[in-house]
């Protein structure tokens, strides 16, 4: 029966994970697939991310309903009640239409049974094959059977068939028989060899005599078909093209009719000279289309055919293809890093990449600097380990380069290089010299310019505006970089390491994926999306998330993923009809708070590492006498299916009110505890899993002789008392005993009382601000069946976007806004309150109460579950250079409006000058306004279209055209605009002569003062936030120093506030183009739908409570709470905790001297008891055991 899912998400990088979580949290079932054998995509390899320089992936995890999903580091792994994860799986085909897609998925087998593998690593120790490790970006080697990501949970080994030398040693070494190469199926894998070539017909049986395949050589197609007709269980047919073409074609077609699952491989002789080879290729191609699998070139050699056939057999037998049904599809396959070694256009290692050990790509440097990397994070050169003292970064490798088919900017490499340089400076405390060679340093995120200033001014990173042309091996093994600086001098510098800031390329499997999903690709190879509907691909119902549509950094990818999730969720609602109203019943657990604690202790055994070096008998005795422990049982391999069923039977038998499991990986079993809880009707918070695996390593010598070997040696020892041997068995038993005792003591103190009651959710949303962002968010929520109230300060909807006339990509914003305003006003679910303001707001996520005063003085009180703040922003006011004084000086926005209205006649102009970054990116407004470069370019192109000869001069610091906007920068230059760079300290000077501007500036390229007298000067004034201070106080949210909203986390929770239930989007979050605002609005809408789709929001098991009598109201716990979950309730003079916000981190307990605040599950007595248990101060010690 085909599995049914709400959505299918292709690609489990951060984009895929975010989309999957956003959908799963609204109750939809999600299938998350990834071609790699591990989760996390490129982020599994990155430890530090700008601008916070830490990793923050786990902040994507849900804050409410926490127990439905994993609550540990997301780079380790993800599980969620509503998400099924299929790894090593690719999308093979997609039929059907939105609401009812049939997706066929093909899963490449890893040849390791996950339910059996206990990741003991014995297989890897015997594997002779070596291949570059993907995780360490090729800096280290790995074996053919390997762990894709060392720190994943659950961590299973996988076999990489391409590297495997088929020595089968891992198969023999595996203690739990988890590796399965299907040997026994060889004997019934019949192979037909249809070839007129007698010599070949004799050779093949000879070659395969000890491979165990039944072979059937036939001289013609008919004989082969006869065999098939007789019902031969044939797995593979080798069809020789030397047979007459017609016969070959008929055999193939007939064979596939007889056995559709048959694999047919064509044998084609190498193209002989003369023209006959032409039709041989054409025939092969035709047969391939008909269904033949691949073509093998003759003459065949034994050394080449036998391994090829072995691997084909293993693929055919182990791989599987299955299909699922999904309402919508989200493609988040991300991107590949550009590989300088394999550059199109031939000039491969101009940058010495591959031939000099010191030249690394930015991904390789990331691995080098990571503590889990090859050099444990020390900055030493791969290969000879020479410490790196001087490192250079080279920007735009494989980006902004027409020769490499990359006329786009990958938008993240500049920031990655700044981060890596900053990291190197900090880690070496300033000893490492760092230099970044760039053309435009693109820091166009809100906080990025400050990040660059910090790197440049405080950390001392050198920024060199030049593009090195030649990289040569340096005098003593280092690297010589030659470049032309702006003063026109040829410079040479020597570095120990050169990091190539490689750009983004479409994923390797892009054409296959595009063909399978039926979507179109743009000329740079990325998924084609339209600028004002950025998430829609060319096929309805299929969305692009993360960096799949356009290269983007983490923040961009997360916002795109959220928006794609909203698109998919709306699509599913529209085509699936109203949401199924019956949420599954919350499992109710028996109340055990009155009962005496009865602990069942289950110890996992018979796992290779555990069994042979612990004295189980003694352990059992010691555990049995622990207070509260009623039964101690052994379970064979709890991690496997059978082991777990055995454990459940034991538990049902003993009917305990506490369950303690001693096993290896605690996190693996946590999802199963919920299942056990339902079976025993016991709250999972009263169960625990303790890691006794690491204890089994204590005191053990690395050789794997284990206890049996050493017991023999001990016995032979001089007269020691039998059984006591020095290999640490006694200490291991004691250590494991104390671990179990500690866990038992903790369980004894567990608080069985019910959780604080869940807060019901009022299914309505409030959106403040009726601009483009506010309206899009409102539409996003309303279309999914929830009521929305949209409050707008002015008399009409539209906000800042109404001033735009045309966009760079050629859309018509005016018409787009008209449609949007019309749709919002007509939408039954949206109530628009114009000329009205929010007066008061109280409450918390799910239960907000807000009072809104309308123009006519009417006050509306509104109960709503979530809030979106979209108060927007406006063009910054510029009062210099004669703006507003001289007619000939205007801003880009005015120019756009006049050009559209025709009040500026381009053909009449003699010359136009533009000045970028006016009062942006310097102290009074130290951020890049992101929109003015694109604004200037669209005006230039419009001017040039109307008057091609018009000279246009643009004074700029860095042109910030990230992503595909780069194409328009090239077009603008090609149309004749001349771009002149200026440094902040040598700004162009403007004077006026008979009411015409005269601009004098230094042209750095010519090194000459130039003087321009155009008849129009256009300033790029940049963007400022609306006055949001009052709104921020009302809703208890923060502002950044520049007045934008301060979101919870700029990368991982870009549209949430720290205060749960309040979200922000659009220009109020930071400078944004129309496209950015649309995306952040949709992402915010989906976050709101996540709350509104719950009937009630229940908090997690581990939540803080306040014992009011002890509290001295000193307020320390409020200031120390990272989630803002605590507040002083002035009327009742008590500290109150918002259970939804509280993440159980325990900071408040640490700060409170009086233990007035307590965390469920970590009470003082409990912790004291655990400490005592750790010191083996237990009754068992008392009982002399």
């Amino acid at each position: 029966m085909k599995k049914e899912y709400g959505a299918l998400v292709v690609g489990a990088g951060i984009g895929g994970i975010r989309s999957a979580l956003d959908l799963a949290e609204t109750g939809l079932k999600v299938a998350l697939i990834d071609a790699r054998p591990s989760l996390g995509g490129i982020l599994a390899q990155l430890d530090h991310q700008f601008p916070s320089d830490h990793c923050g992936m786990c902040k994507m995890l849900p804050l409410t309903q926490r127990d439905q999903s994993s609550q540990y580091c997301l780079r380790k792994g993800l599980f969620h009640k509503n998400i099924d994860i299929y790894l090593s799986t690719e999308l093979a085909g997609l039929e059907g239409d939105p609401g009812k897609f049939q997706a066929t998925l093909s899963r490449r087998s890893t040849f390791v049974d996950p339910t059996r593998c206990v990741s003991c690593g014995l297989c890897a120790e015997v594997c002779p094959a070596r291949a570059p490790s993907e995780f360490n970006a090729g800096l280290k080697q790995r074996t053919a059977v390997y762990l894709p990501v060392p720190h994943n949970i659950p961590n299973h080994y996988v076999v990489d068939l391409d590297t495997c030398q088929r020595c089968w040693r891992c198969h023999e070494a595996c203690p739990t028989k988890a590796i399965d190469f299907k040997f026994e199926q060889r004997k019934d894998f019949h192979i037909i060899v249809a070839t007129p070539d007698q010599r070949l017909a004799q050779d093949i049986p000879l070659w395969f005599k000890d491979e165990g395949f039944p072979l059937h050589p036939t001289s013609s197609g008919e004989d082969a078909l006869k065999l098939l007709a007789e019902g031969l269980d044939c797995g593979l047919m080798l069809l020789d093209l030397d047979l007459p073409t017609a016969e070959a074609e008929r055999t193939l077609r007939r064979a596939l009719e007889l056995r559709p699952s048959l694999a047919v491989v064509l044998l084609a002789s190498k193209a002989q000279n003369g023209d006959k080879d032409g039709d041989k290729d054409r025939a092969a191609a035709a047969l391939l289309k008909l269904g033949a699998r691949e073509v093998l070139a003759k003459p065949l050699g034994q050394a080449q055919v036998v391994p090829w056939l072995d691997k084909l057999f293993m693929r055919l037998v182990s791989d599987e293809s299955f299909s699922i049904e999904a309402g919508a599809v989200i493609l988040a396959a991300g991107f590949e890093c550009y590989d300088p070694a394999a550059s199109p256009g031939g000039s491969a290692d101009l940058l010495l990449y591959g031939s000099h050990p010191g030249v690394l790509t930015s991904l390789e440097f990331e691995r080098l600097a990571s503590p889990t990397g090859p050099s444990q994070g020390h900055l030493t050169r791969p290969g000879d380990g020479k410490p790196l003292k001087r490192i250079a970064w080279l920007q735009c490798v494989g980006s902004r380069d027409v020769k490499k088919q990359a006329d786009f900017c990958s938008s993240f490499c500049c920031m990655v290089s700044i981060k890596q340089a900053l990291l190197s400076r900090r880690r070496s405390r300033g000893e490492v010299e760092t230099a970044i060679f760039y053309m435009d340093m693109r820091t166009n995120g809100r906080d990025y310019q400050r990040y660059r200033d910090e790197a440049e001014n405080e950390a001392g990173v050198r920024f060199v505006p030049a593009r090195p042309h030649t990289i040569l091996p340096g005098p003593d093994g280092d690297i010589l970089v030659q470049y032309f600086d702006y003063a026109g001098e040829l410079r040479e510098e020597v570095f120990d390491a050169l990091v190539l800031a490689v750009g983004a390329r479409p994923p390797r499997s892009m054409e296959r994926l595009a063909q399978a999903a039926g979507i179109e690709v743009n000329e740079s190879g990325f998924c084609a999306t339209r600028s004002l509907s950025p998430n829609r691909t060319s096929r309805l119902g299929v969305f692009a998330a993360g960096a799949f549509g356009e290269p983007a950094d983490i923040r961009g990818s997360l916002i795109q993923a959220g928006a794609a999730a909203m698109g998919a969720s709306r699509m599913i609602r529209v085509y699936h009809g109203p949401r199924d109203e019956t949420p599954e019943a919350e499992p109710e657990y028996t109340d055990v708070s009155r009962q005496v604690p009865r602990v069942l202790m289950a110890l996992c055994t018979s796992c290779p590492t555990l069994e042979r070096n612990v004295d189980s008998g003694l352990l059992h005795q010691r555990m049995a006498v622990l207070p509260g422990v009623v039964k101690v049982v052994d379970v064979k391999r709890a991690c496997t299916r059978e082991g777990w069923d055995a454990l459940r039977q034991e538990a049902e038998l003993a009917a305990p009110n506490r369950v303690l499991i001693g096993a290896c990986l605690p996190y693996v079993h946590v999802p199963r505890l919920r299942e056990l809880g339902e079976a025993l009707r016991l709250n999972p918070a009263l169960m625990d899993v303790v890691d006794i695996h690491t204890a089994s390593f204590a005191g053990r010598d690395t050789s794997f002789g284990g206890h049996a070997a050493c017991r023999a040696s001990c016995a032979a020892g001089s007269g020691e008392e039998h059984g006591v041997c020095d290999c640490g068995e006694a200490s291991r038993t004691k250590e494991m005993g104390s671990l179990l005792a500690m866990a038992a003591a903790k369980l004894l103190g567990a608080d069985p009382s019910a959780l604080p009651k869940a807060t019901p959710v009022s299914p309505q949303a409030l959106v403040v601000g009726g601009g483009l962002a506010g309206m899009t968010a409102a539409m996003g929520i309303a279309d999914q069946g929830f009521k929305v109230v949209l409050v707008e300060e002015t008399e009409h909807l539209g906000g800042q976007a109404m001033n735009l006339r045309y966009t760079l990509e050629g859309d018509d914003p005016a018409r787009f806004m008209e449609d949007l305003v019309e749709q919002v006003e007509k939408n039954p679910n949206i109530r628009v309150l114009k000329d009205s303001r929010v007066v008061l707001s109280r409450g918390k996520a799910g239960r907000f109460v807000t009072v809104i005063a309308t123009g006519e003085g009417v006050a509306h009180t509104l109960h709503h579950g979530a809030t979106i703040l979209a108060t927007g922003g406006h063009e910054a006011k510029v009062y210099e250079y004669g703006n507003r004084v001289h007619k000939c000086v205007i801003t880009q926005l005015e120019l756009e409006q006049r050009l559209a209205a025709g009040s500026v006649d381009a053909s009449g102009l003699k010359g136009v000058a533009m000045i970028q970054c006016w009062r942006s990116r310097e102290e009074s407004r130290n951020y890049c306004s992101r929109v003015c470069c694109q604004g200037a370019l669209k005006n230039i192109l419009m001017l040039k279209k109307r008057n091609p000869g018009l000279p246009v001069y643009v004074f700029y610091r860095d042109i910030m055209t990230t992503g595909f906007a780069e194409r328009y920068y090239t077009e603008a230059r090609r149309s004749g605009a001349i771009f002149i760079r200026y440094a902040p300290d040598s700004r162009p000077k403007v004077t006026f002569k008979d009411d015409k501007p005269v601009i004098t500036a230094l042209d750095p390229v010519l090194g000459a003062e130039i003087e321009l007298n155009p008849d129009l000067l256009v300033l790029s004034s940049g963007v400022e936030p609306g006055d949001a201070a009052e709104i921020a106080d009302l809703f208890g949210v923060g502002l950044t120093p520049d007045g934008f909203f301060q979101e919870a986390e700029s990368k991982w929770r870009p549209v949430d506030f720290l205060k749960h239930g309040v979200f922000a989007c659009g220009l109020a979050l930071g400078p944004a183009t129309m496209r950015d605002s649309l995306l952040s609005a949709k992402a915010a809408a989906q976050r709101v739908v996540r709350i509104l789709s719950e009937k009630q929001l229940s908090c997690g098991n581990v939540v803080a409570e306040v014992r009011d009598t002890l509290c001295a109201r000193c307020g320390r716990c409020i200031s120390v709470c990272p989630y803002g979950a605590r507040a002083l309730d002035l009327d009742r003079d008590r500290i109150v905790v918002d259970e939804l916000l509280c993440q159980g981190c325990g900071s408040c307990m640490a700060a409170c001297p009086n233990s007035a605040t307590v965390l469920r599950g970590f009470r003082d007595e409990q912790v004291m008891a655990v400490i005592d248990a750790a010191l083996a101060v237990q009754p068992s010690a008392a009982a002399g055991l």
């Binding site: 000039s347 101009l350 735009c396 902004r400 380069d401 027409v402 020769k403 053309m439 030049a466 593009r467 090195p468 042309h469 030649t470 030659q482 470049y483 032309f484 003063a487 026109g488 001098e489 040829l490 003699k910 010359g911 000869g949 018009l950 000279p951 001069y953 090239t970 230059r973 090609r974 149309s975 004749g976 001349i978 771009f979 760079r981 042209d1003 390229v1005 010519l1006 090194g1007 000459a1008 003062e1009 130039i1010 003087e1011 321009l1012 007298n1013 155009p1014």
Partner: protein, 191 residues
């Protein structure tokens, strides 16, 4: 190649398109983003008074006079390194050749002198169908009116003669290309 040029001031008049070649040269380099790769890749850059990057810049600014006065484009040995490496894919070597043609046609006497070598070469090809090295060199020395010039080539000339590598008379292709040259001259004259 330090270039502390005096300040240049100009009112940005619409660029003169009277000359077809100038417009062609500008179109070739308009999309230049001043990254300097061409300058750094040129084997003869050390001898140039204006770096190629600066020359393109002045060309775009419309400072044709300063461009034609410089020696830069005469030093281009057509090795195509810059064309290969230019990240904007601009036909830089073709632009250099265009500037040579422009200088030969409109440039001052010094430029016309530099173009003589190429014109004499083509004149010899027009007459003989295939280049006659001896004949061509003699005509070139005469056209240069520089008595010392032949002395530079005598050691090479003697070596070639000794090895019998210099043909004296024509080889039956005399005048073969006459009609073609005439046709091209008339076509180029017209356009």
């Amino acid at each position: 190649m330090k270039n502390t040029r005096p300040s240049i001031s100009f009112t940005p008049a619409p660029l003169a398109f009277k000359d077809q070649e100038l417009a062609a040269a500008q179109d070739m380099v308009r999309a230049c983003m001043q990254c300097g790769t061409c300058t750094a890749s040129c084997p003869n850059a050390f001898a140039m008074d204006l770096a190629p990057r600066q020359m393109w810049r002045m060309l775009l600014f419309g400072l044709t006079q300063e461009v034609l006065e410089s020696r830069t484009f005469w030093l281009c040995s057509a090795c195509y390194s810059c064309t290969l490496r230019c990240p904007r894919g601009l036909p830089l070597t073709a632009a250099m050749a265009t500037l040579k043609r422009l200088a030969a046609a409109e440039g001052d006497s010094a430029n016309r002198k530099k173009a003589l070598f190429y014109q004499e070469f083509m004149h010899n090809v027009e007459q003989n169908g295939r280049i006659q090295e001896m004949g061509f060199m003699c005509h070139y020395f005469l056209a240069m009116h520089d008595p010392l010039l032949p002395l530079e080539y005598t050691p090479l000339g003697l070596k070639l003669l000794a090895k019998g590598k210099l043909r004296l008379g024509g080889r039956g292709q005399r005048g073969r290309l006459g009609p073609l040259f005439a046709k091209v001259r008339s076509m180029e004259g017209a356009s």
